[in-house]
């Protein structure tokens, strides 16, 4: 078993270098396709993050009557929080609301006219962050029923439109990624087929001298895996080199977005490695099979 493994790996290594031109062509194709795939993966990740970010902005704001007791408000807050679709409920008191209002005016450089007022015109409110914006309507309906709620700010139409747009973008992004993935798959598998086809004679001789299927197949499978591995490593090197200049521009654009660079990198490495090695193996397996079924 061990010697068979050594045999296969040694033959795979020889096969790769003795047919260097074909192997390098397959590797180059692999790199190009993986780069394409990785590019779309990065765009897709960015897009999804942007959509999540946008959707997180959706919140339900319920104004509270000024005469509501703190205990009533706290009781409502707990009740809303216990709903499964609610992520977070913040109570904003009247004073806080005024402070925020002033803060915002200052940011915009406007003169603070509220100082001229002798009383605070703003209401206290509950700000409800949702797990998914789809349940927006339900939460609004529930809050409207409450006695201490004066009014719920009406944003339903805006939210619906936003959801339509984000869902379309999400679907389109996924479809595009899948399509690119399939194209990459076909091109890579086909290139490997060509590389195997160029060695049909070798396979025929092996069959005629009485080599078992395993002895014919596994060296090719290892070779395919090696091409995939090499392609994936080269792709990641290119991506790493490109990351520096791209990052500068991306960070500015993406800094507001909740992208975890660490997890995206992990995802990218997994995707590139998995696709490369996986397709190398599958491609070789399928290609050699054509010659073995008789």
């Amino acid at each position: 078993m061990i010697s068979f493994l050594f045999f296969s790996i040694r033959r795979a290594w020889q096969g790769f270098w003795r047919n260097a031109l074909m192997s390098l062509a397959a590797t180059a194709t692999m790199v190009l396709m993986l780069l394409l795939l990785a590019g779309f993966f990065i765009i897709q990740t960015g897009l999804l993050a942007a959509l999540d970010f946008t959707e997180q902005k959706v919140e339900v704001v319920a104004d509270i009557f000024d005469n509501a007791q703190p205990s009533q408000i706290e009781e409502l807050r707990q009740r809303v929080l216990s709903l499964p679709e609610v992520a977070e409920v913040t109570f904003v008191s009247r004073d806080e609301a005024l402070a925020r209002f002033r803060e915002r005016l200052k940011e915009q450089g406007e003169e603070d006219l509220s100082k001229a007022l002798d009383s605070n015109p703003l209401h206290a409110s509950l700000e409800v962050k949702l797990v998914t914006p789809e349940v927006f309507g339900d939460v609004v309906g529930m809050l409207r029923e409450e006695r201490i709620v004066e009014k719920v700010k009406e944003q339903q139409k805006l939210v619906d439109e936003l959801l339509t747009v984000t869902n379309v973008l999400r679907t389109a992004g996924t479809v595009l990624l899948v399509v690119v993935g399939i194209i990459a798959l076909f091109i890579i598998v086909n290139t490997i087929r060509l590389a195997v086809f160029a060695r049909a004679d070798e396979i025929e001789i092996m069959r005629l001298v009485g080599a078992s299927d395993a002895f014919i197949r596994w060296p090719f499978v290892f070779e395919g895996a090696f091409v995939g591995f090499l392609g994936a490593v080269l792709t990641l090197v290119v991506l790493a080199l490109a990351a520096e200049p791209i990052n500068g521009f991306m960070l500015e654009f993406f800094q507001v977005l909740p992208i975890e660079v660490g997890s995206m990198t992990r995802g990218l490495v997994t995707l590139v490695m998995g696709t490369g090695v996986g397709l190398g193996i599958v491609g070789s397996w399928v290609s050699v099979r054509t010659y073995l079924i008789r």
Partner: protein, 226 residues
Amino acid sequence: MLHDVTKRYPNGKIALRDVDLVIPEGDFVFLVGPSGAGKSTLIKLLIRDEIATRGDVVLDGQDLARLPRRQVPRMRRKIGIIFQDFKLLPTKTVWENVAFALEVTGYPRRGIRPAVDQVLAIVGLSAQAKQTPNQLSGGEQQRTAIARALVHDPRLIIADEPTGNLDPLISWEILQLLLRINELGVTVLMATHNAEVVTALRKRVVALEEGRIIRDEVGGAYHRED
């Protein structure tokens, strides 16, 4: 041994009809006949590249149609096959081409060198061991192929037009080599168009025409002699 064998290809063409042929161990048999007579099909049946539509092909006591697919490679190692176009790997040296047959069949690594050296000595190519096929003459290439066929120590050598690409003098050389191998006890079945060689050697001749055996005589010539 073939018993009552018919082979019909999927396209409807019948390549062999009711062929009965027994080749005893140690025989030297010429298989002659025009192109398309069924010589190649007969060979393919013997190496189980094809399976008979009807009838039995029995090799060394084994019915090839009943042989499980996994056993086919092991069976093929009992047969050495030689082709008109040599089928050598151009990127490998003579030595490596012969060793290849052992490597890919899982032969113990330590045994490879002596086995290859021995068969190269038999075919007289020890000096050319490190050359690649394109540095060799046609006769030397065919001798390499014969060495490769011999390296598994086969019971049967099947030669499909082994002299088809060679000039007459070299053809005789190859024939001498096959005869010597036969003298060592290996059965030889040689399909050929080479009338001169067949007639001169007076070995057993099996003639095929349109898928049937029309003649099977010991000590025969290439053409019928009446």
